[in-house]
Symmetry: C2
Subunit: 438 residues, 2 copies
């Protein structure tokens, strides 16, 4: 179809009927939608048709390219190593970015990171960071560039200039039931990363009860497709499929997770959060070219914890983005909920599960997340798990503490929360944290 004769309805019908779209057709739609020439409802029709018909690798690549060129593309100058980003597909208690970024930057690999907000049961890095008094996630593109070039890392939200097609499409997908769709997920993730100036990308594809793609097969398909498309776009891509059956670490909630990330930077973090930080950090150093093996990478990240260099880098990042860097030394400066409810085990045995999705929904109901898009998350509330899968518990022993502000919300959250917890008489084998390489 020639561009001058292109008709959005004909393109929708083609995808609806299972025909492959050409790069020109995809580009026509993405450009038209970004400019406002193609309506929200025509875009929705195409998105839903893509949910049913899918996109082949060529179409996915064309989609991602059009989304990248819908806005500006950052090129950093004078960096000491390749800029490397990390992307997690979203989970519960996933505060890894907050310890990982300063450690990797402290080891000399720049991290230009465009993060997201909480979505349903899943937390959002920007919401977590905003619990630090004064912290700004809405830097200008120029501040972003300067931050990465001078401090070595920025963690902020997408700007108007970077992949505007993605911004607009994402808001639409959230309102139209078109979120869980592989090519659309790939276009969204990769367009932001490439436009934001990353040259390599480490993936943490979550799988399990609290992941957006709970099944291993789907997580694998997502990982493979992200890697394949990313490589054609000139990105170095590697990463892991990791378990998201139970929340990561002990804390779920905005300020609570910042606190726990600082514990990781102090060498006092819980085993799973520390292990993920080491694994993903080593991979980022490898892709960034400052180490030649994963083992060396782990060693370097470990040293940056021991030496306090990571915690110092976090302070630099916070200060650069207008926040109070003293929280990195004194986490009590973070907001705290004034009330705590203790959740006791109804039986003696072993923790069999903390359903991450239900724990995440409970935290959202407490106010930590967004029930509707207009909600502002409460930085202080959240959940603290004192026992995790495989730990022994006695009947009546406190296994979790709920940090709350409002009793009504507590009660709603507790209904979900008590469903999330399960106990078993025999010690279960906790699932492996790192499932496989992508």
């Amino acid at each position: 179809m020639k561009r001058e004769t292109m008709d959005p309805v004909a393109i929708i019908e083609a995808k609806r009927d299972g025909r492959q779209l050409s790069s020109a057709e995809i580009d026509f739609v993405i450009r038209g939608y970004t400019r406002g020439d193609i309506s929200d409802y025509q875009m929705t029709a195409l998105l839903m048709a893509i949910c049913f018909r899918g996109m082949d690798p060529d179409e996915t690549l064309a989609l991602t390219r059009s989304m990248i060129t819908s806005g500006e593309k950052i090129e950093f100058r004078g960096l000491p190593a390749l800029p490397v980003d990390k992307h997690s597909t979203g989970g519960v208690g996933d505060k890894i970015t907050l310890s990982l970024v300063p450690l990797v930057a402290a080891c000399g690999v720049p991290v230009p990171m465009l993060s997201g907000r909480s979505l349903r049961h899943s937390g959002g890095t920007l919401d977590k960071l905003e619990s630090i008094p004064g912290f700004r996630t809405d830097l200008s593109l120029e501040e972003y560039r300067r931050g990465v070039e001078s401090i070595g890392a920025v963690i902020m939200g997408q700007t108007e200039e970077l992949a505007p097609a993605d911004r607009k499409m994402y808001a639409l997908r959230d309102a139209t039931g078109t979120v869980p769709c592989l090519p659309l997920i790939i276009g969204s993730i990769l367009s932001k990363k490439v436009a934001g100036g990353a040259k390599a990308l480490v993936l943490d594809v979550k799988c399990g009860l609290g992941a957006f793609m709970p099944e291993l097969e789907k997580a694998r398909a997502l990982g493979r497709s992200l890697k394949g498309t990313g490589v054609v776009l000139g990105l170095q891509v590697s990463g892991f499929i990791t378990n998201m059956d139970q929340p990561i670490g002990r804390f779920v909630g905005n300020a609570l997770e910042v606190r726990e990330a600082i514990e990781v930077l102090q060498g006092q973090g819980p085993p799973d959060a520390t292990e993920l930080t080491l694994t993903l950090g080593a991979e980022m150093l490898l892709l960034g070219g400052v180490v030649s093996s994963r083992e060396d990478g782990r060693q370097r990240i470990h040293q940056a914890i021991e030496s306090g260099a990571g915690r110092q880098k976090l302070k630099d990042i916070i200060e650069n983005q207008g926040g109070d860097p003293n929280v990195a030394d004194n986490p009590d400066l973070l907001p705290r909920a004034d009330k705590i409810h203790e959740f006791d085990s109804p039986e003696t045995g072993f923790v069999a599960g903390w359903n991450a999705r239900l724990v995440g929904l409970a935290s959202m109901r407490l106010g930590a997340g967004r029930l509707h898009r207009a909600h502002t998350p409460d930085p202080a509330v959240g959940i603290e798990l004192l026992r995790k899968v495989g730990d022994s518990v006695d009947k009546g022993e406190t296994v979790a503490r709920v940090h709350y502000r409002d009793r009504g919300r507590l009660n709603t959250a507790l209904q979900l929360f008590s469903e999330a917890f399960s106990i078993t008489p025999a010690r279960p084998k906790p699932p492996p944290l790192i499932i496989e390489e992508i």
Copy 2:
């Protein structure tokens, strides 16, 4: 799901994932959309999901009921017989309404008819009627009621008050590639008919090259489903699947088709248009209860042609709707194109086909239809077929005449038109006009 907790996204996701929607969910969406509480893009997401997942008979019924109750419902008073409507699924050269309605009304069965406009290759009764000088298709609801109660027939467009959900949804479907979808087609047709006060409905489901559902199996499914849903809604429904491989009659185009309908009313119409008028007319008289057999029905329609009662009723209808009734006696009062192009057969043989879809598209390109929604159809232009399938032709003999205004448009139309025509050395057997009963 309780109404107060209903969430449009959850309903979209349910249909997307293949779950049945409850009547309450369907009603929530249709009411919300009609009021403007649910956006065009959320409605589009649901419509496209329905295109892929379908609707079972309960859902289709609930959809149709909600669409009916989205507006007013007409109840006629003091009618001499049951009000009967006819619905054709759309074709090329299908001017049957224009001869059928006056004949059936002349035989004592009231016809309250809400008609449509041309859509792609298919013509529209309203566009045809508006080629009659002064003819109004935008009567008020009160004028509609009075016209049916006094004259026995009105042919007009849908008003704001009748099935407003359908009006809004139809415009959206046309722009989003969600037109060819069985439950949506059924909801659209039946909601208008029931809201418009019809108590019985005769269907003319088209099948073949120029139909919106070209395959017999799909036409059958549409017919069965229309009948099944209509009967549950309290309508009497019967009808036929009829052939739409070649255009009906000799003329395609607005004023040209009015002229041909008048010929049918004068007893001088082409065999196929006359036969369809007799068959559908007899069925309407039977459902209306004024005859007790199809044979009696045909006889009565035939008499109304012979006596001139049908033509007189057409004059009453035209006069009641503000048009010039003299056109029924003197069709030269209708607009005429000033130029005629003669299309000659390139070979000697027999006409094997006039692809109805291509002829319809050619007529649209001449200006008789709508390339874009904003176009106003030209009443005068169109196509005249001098030979039809099975007729013998000599090389160089004129087989069609193209009535045109603009040479550029003629050339575009001729490309389609010459593709529409095919010739064969042996006399082909024309396909049966009436394929089967529904």
